[in-house]
Symmetry: C2
Subunit: 491 residues, 2 copies
């Protein structure tokens, strides 16, 4: 296909045109559902070749902004944020620390996510097809020889492979004062990082502040470590309610069972998907520092931004070493590798001690493969493709929800990550829906496991990790039918 | 070299001859230090060719049974058990549960074991040269293609790869009622298995019975989990003292801070090296079952037997599901792979829950490589070579200790594993010796970190994982000189 370049400006002509059209869409000049100018119309108006204009439309389609309809041209695609009204996580749950007991239900739910016969709306991670299999395989072949002949089989330190840590540090621009690769500790995935952090800063009986709703695995960890969860309401658009948080800190920080940590997921939150605004991030870090409470930041979805840039981590505002930053490659590259990391701030010694005693060392082989992959500069290109793919999948899912779910359904509008949170009519029992959907081989998460308060039973979490298809569409159609039935039965 | 085979019997002639000579050595017909018949003498007596007889001696030398001395023929080599008298772990430590605080010293010690400039008498595992690098690399190349194209990058379950578990189960003959691969949970090395077991069966404040001396990392785990250690004396020849154990159980099992688990390493114990006799194993399992106390068995050195067969695990006598059996491939194949496993008995559900919440899944890639390696039948051949190598290294180390350490030194005589425990004169400070040795680039473990009681300060642990060499000999010579100096200074 011929590609022309205009002298004196950057990018190919078709890219410049695509950019112009995108700006017109985002400023509302072309509205959702509206037909865009035909190829011929644009050719007459701009003098650009039909090929160039067609390329621009293909580019916009790939970015999820427009969709072709047979024989009638290109139309502006609904963005997630325009599909349905947002749920309101309004009233406070009783702001009291509580013992957590979610395990048995959660386990029966989590056990379904690996069933390949299920429509995969459960697990919050990209499908296999979206992972850079070939490049990772190439990196694996590259490092294998050196690994096996260079004493690779021997225990490494508990801290992780320096070459990988340097690559991660180099990517972490914008963090407060930069990141020292030396400080970083590589972990067995992000959950390992989080559990090490919790164990480093808490004692059994302590209180951990988290959000309501939050990630089920946080609650399970809190239960297992003999801690109390204090759930603070969080908004699907701006994150944890800072007033409620300060009130809770004031009430609980000096008690015998003290608030020992705050465990948050501010960037494309699981399950609400919000990206906490930057000024609130700063306020949050300052507030916790004022109370001397360590903040465990889970940034595992941070790279899955649909926008031009990724969120600035809370860690960027940490001047006290009180933020323990956790992330991994599980949502973007290789879930099986189990490679995560923690920037432990002032708790490095405790983290290393716990890590050493629970697993002696961190396996080098997957770290070496990832280091090679990153050194070869594959990651950014892969991330661009991945973000676009998930953005499109999420838009398709949101539109299907709007089509098939009952009137009155509310839906989040994440700017990244890979899941949607759906609020159904109050009488719909999400756990019953989970079971009925499971029988129809459709995997979702009921909202109630996202809290220890018993709330959110009329909500569900829907993952958008898998490519859209007729099967996925069919799954949403049948899920919608189930919801309609449940809603009318209990009305 | 010609090799003849006698019709009607198995093995080459030289192997048969080696076998006959070995039997004469082990029944005492040829004694330690005695000269074996010359080649000519045996040729005249047996009619075998000089070449065959020479091959038999080479074979015996490789097995560590004889050693050639220049121009004077072959001599029976001292076995470890004949080198020096055994230490006596006599008096009881005060049999009270205690808070453990060993971390800071232990850490500075453990941090030295990865220094390649050190004479490696510290880390208790085989040197790189003894690992089956080429076969593992071949298995890696074999599985890589399938792994990357077959959805391998995705999370696996927390339970482990079935093909590997079947291989491990098939090897675990002699376990009570056989092993069901389904029950097995693959872990991030053996320490991960042990920490999961401890967390599954204890609550903070509980008492864990262990041995005195014991493995430093057990004590660190007990400390980190807020548990109390109750150390029971253990003998370098027969293991934990069952009378003291029963007394302790009787005293502590019904208290508020109850005995919640017993954590033992009965097969080539770390640090004493004993192989607990089979009748005592049975008594131990029955006793703990009678008190309803879960028994965590660390069998990580079990395959490193110098004898014809490996020890029978405690798990073999478990009819109640109260034995949690832990092991790994770290001491025999690939420390870096971090692949261990647990047979959790009746605690499977708790173990899986803890495993899921601390790491979601277990990495598949190293498991697939190991499964391929085992399926190809490489393991037994490798183990035979490895056992013989370590046996020889241990004999050389023991002889060097006898040569260079002061009179009165006592030494264990392990029948497997890879470490020696040395008892020095009471006035020798093991920690001071550790530091002085470290300055001379010799890595050992001071005995005091093997207990929370402050005992064993005149003891050291010496690992025999590395091939013997002039450098190793020199290390022992200089270590002996340091000990002599310390002993005379404080006499």
């Amino acid at each position: 296909m011929p590609t022309q370049k205009k002298a004196g400006t950057s990018g190919f002509l078709y890219q410049q045109l695509a950019h112009e059209l995108e700006e017109k869409i985002s400023c509302g000049q072309y509205r959702v559902g509206e037909r865009l100018p035909s190829l011929r119309n644009l050719h007459n108006r701009t003098g650009l070749s039909i090929t160039t204009i067609a390329q621009a439309y293909v580019e916009l389609e790939a970015r999820g902004l427009v969709e072709p309809r047979e024989k009638s041209g290109y139309f502006v695609r609904p963005l997630v944020k325009d599909v349905l009204p947002m749920p309101q996580i309004g009233e406070h749950p009783a702001s009291r620390p509580r013992k957590v007991r979610v395990n048995s239900l959660a386990e029966s739910i989590l056990s379904t996510i690996r069933d390949p016969k299920m429509r995969p709306f459960g697990a919050a991670l990209p499908a296999d097809q979206l992972l850079p299999v070939r490049q990772l395989a190439r990196s694996a072949r590259t490092v294998l020889g050196k690994y096996f002949t260079g004493g690779g089989l021997h225990y490494d330190s508990a801290q992780g492979v320096p070459a990988l840590k340097r690559q991660i540090a180099a990517r972490s621009i914008g963090f407060c004062g930069g990141i020292d690769a030396e400080d970083m500790v590589v972990t067995n995935g992000c959950m390992d990082a989080i559990q090490l952090c919790l164990r480093a800063v808490t004692q059994p009986g302590d209180i951990v502040v988290t959000e309501s709703p939050t990630f089920i695995c946080y609650l399970q960890l809190i239960e297992q470590l003999g801690l109390f969860a204090l759930e603070i309401p969080t908004s699907p658009s701006t994150g944890i309610d800072l007033e409620s948080l300060e009130e809770a800190l004031f009430t609980w920080v000096w008690r015998r069972n003290r608030v020992a940590a705050c465990l948050l997921n501010p960037s494309f939150h699981n399950p609400l998907g919000f990206d906490m605004p930057i000024d609130r991030r700063k306020d949050l870090v300052l507030m916790l520092a004022a109370y001397g409470v360590p903040l465990i930041e889970d940034d595992v979805f941070g790279e899955l931004s649909f926008g031009a840039s990724r969120p600035v981590p809370l860690k960027s505002f940490d001047t006290q070493g009180l933020v323990l930053y956790c992330s991994s490659f599980s949502k973007t590259l290789a879930p099986d590798f189990r490679v995560g990391w923690v920037l432990p701030g002032r708790f490095r010694e405790q983290i290393l001690r716990l890590k050493f005693n629970s697993s002696i060392a961190q396996a080098k082989l997957p770290q070496l493969i990832l280091a090679d992959f990153l050194e070869n500069g594959h990651y950014d290109r892969h991330l661009r493709k991945l973000r676009m793919a998930i953005k499109n999948q999420m838009a398709s899912t949101a539109q299907a929800i709007a089509r098939y779910f009952p009137e009155g359904t509310k839906l989040t509008a994440p700017a990244g990550g890979c899941m949607l949170w759906v609020e159904l009519a109050p009488q719909v029992d999400g756990v019953e829906l989970f079971h009925q959907a499971k029988d129809e081989k459709i995997n979702i998460f009921p909202g109630t496991i996202s809290s220890s308060t018993g709330r959110f039973n009329n909500c569900i979490r829907i993952s958008c990790g898998a490519p859209w298809s007729e099967e996925m569409e069919d799954g949403m159609r049948r899920l919608g039918a189930l919801i309609n039935r449940l809603q009318s039965q209990s009305a």
